[in-house]
Symmetry: C2
Subunit: 256 residues, 2 copies
């Protein structure tokens, strides 16, 4: 089973602390890793078919504090598709002049969507096929970049059509919002004022966010399994889709 | 003026030696750098709005010998578009289930192509607009990945329509072939058996390829200005487009 890590912030923030805890888990997820950072509309993608524990690319990510408002990371335990670079998550495509980044955890059995438009998989994973199908259908539903609210409505209609094929925990971001969908395991927390110290679950490393963050900073961290021991993580319900904007879940009026 | 570096090989080869010489030139090209590596159908893209001389990402590329059959690198002196991540070359798009990587050196004045299909620029450079237009027109001309010969014919028709707007030195690769087009400055050489030592033009560094390469290896290196002092570089003619496959220019029968 793969693991996912996402971050959505109201201020560009580095993910070094959370990524360090996350990458430690890659001993049992030895089939590659990847991480995508948005900086404005631009995106950087680092992928490596080596395990994050041994990869020089992961080492760079741990040492180079890239400040980003939206990050999606993935460590891979191959279920479908060989351990090749083109099968490493996250995947990136361009739509409406924006980059879209996607990573998936789970297994979609016998999933072969009808891809008739401008998005085709390069590798042979179920995950990239699902991403291409979502992009194809989003492109049909909107003529230009929709608001996070509009896109959430469209995803709410599309996602169950994929999720019925198996486990579909995923994260998607366009550099503005980050959408996370849970089939089985996904947790999040919002770090905001007053900040407190936190200690990593799997490593003897702690950080006092009160010393690092400004009172107005807000960061949402979304991850397969909680990363820290002393913070209150909220579990997603199965089937739940949450859009994160400016470091918190998007609050919306109840629909009629 | 930006600088371009490309490599096309018949065997996965690391570009550390050539990139080291190339990155040295970035003192006067301080507006970012980028490099894309194909490994099979997969691609890795490293971009940084910092100059290659000071970038931790460039440092990784110099120290981590990534073996690739097709590489495109770019160091940037901004002419159009701000120094932002989304304006860093190379650019990547997917078409026909393959990644396409593009980098440009030059300046296209008043260039605003009609982009009506699935490829839109994310940043605001003339270069990314030209790439999107080429992708759009290639998609119209072929239903699936064409052979290097077929794609060369299509590019031969398309490229002058862009080049009449200004300087259009570029490199394009799909991980199989690498196309290089020269408006003003571009040079190439083929390293093959018998291999000899070479000394970098701008740095006191030499390498003896005879000790590193196997007799059957063949590598084409394409660059704005020659990288080494003691090798015979061939200058492109203005307007010349060359496709490189398996480490050498594509030989083709004369067309009737």
């Amino acid at each position: 089973m793969c693991q996912l890590l996402g971050m959505n912030c109201n201020t560009p923030t580095d993910i070094v602390f959370s990524f360090t805890g996350f990458a430690t888990r890659s001993q049992e997820h030895a089939d590659g890793f990847g991480i995508a950072f948005f900086e404005g509309k631009g995106a950087r993608l680092f992928v490596d078919p080596q395990a994050a524990l041994h990869s020089p690319v992961a080492d760079l990510v741990r040492r180079y504090p890239i400040r980003s408002t939206n990050v999606i990371a993935h460590i891979r335990k191959a279920t479908q598709g060989e351990t090749r670079l083109e099968n490493c998550h996250p995947f990136v495509r361009e739509l409406w002049g924006r980059y879209w980044v996607f990573a998936h955890n789970g297994d979609l059995k016998g999933y072969a969507p009808h891809l008739h438009a401008a998005f085709r998989p390069v590798g042979d994973t179920d995950s990239e096929a699902a991403f291409c199908w979502l992009m194809q259908e989003l492109a049909k539903n909107h003529a230009r970049v929709p608001t996070p609210e509009q896109l959430t409505d469209t995803l709410t209609e599309l996602v169950p059509q994929v999720a019925r094929h198996g486990t579909f925990n995923f994260m998607l971001s366009n550099g503005h919002a980050l959408w996370a969908h849970c089939s089985t395991h996904l947790h999040y927390l919002v770090r905001e004022h007053p900040f407190r110290p936190a200690r990593l679950q799997d490593e003897d490393l702690s950080v006092n966010f009160a010393e690092l963050a400004s009172p107005q900073d807000r960061v949402a961290v979304i991850v397969t399994e909680p990363l820290t021991r002393d913070e209150a993580w909220t579990a997603f319900a199965p089937g739940e889709l949450i859009a994160f904007v400016d470091g918190q879940p998007l609050r919306r009026p109840a629909r009629p």
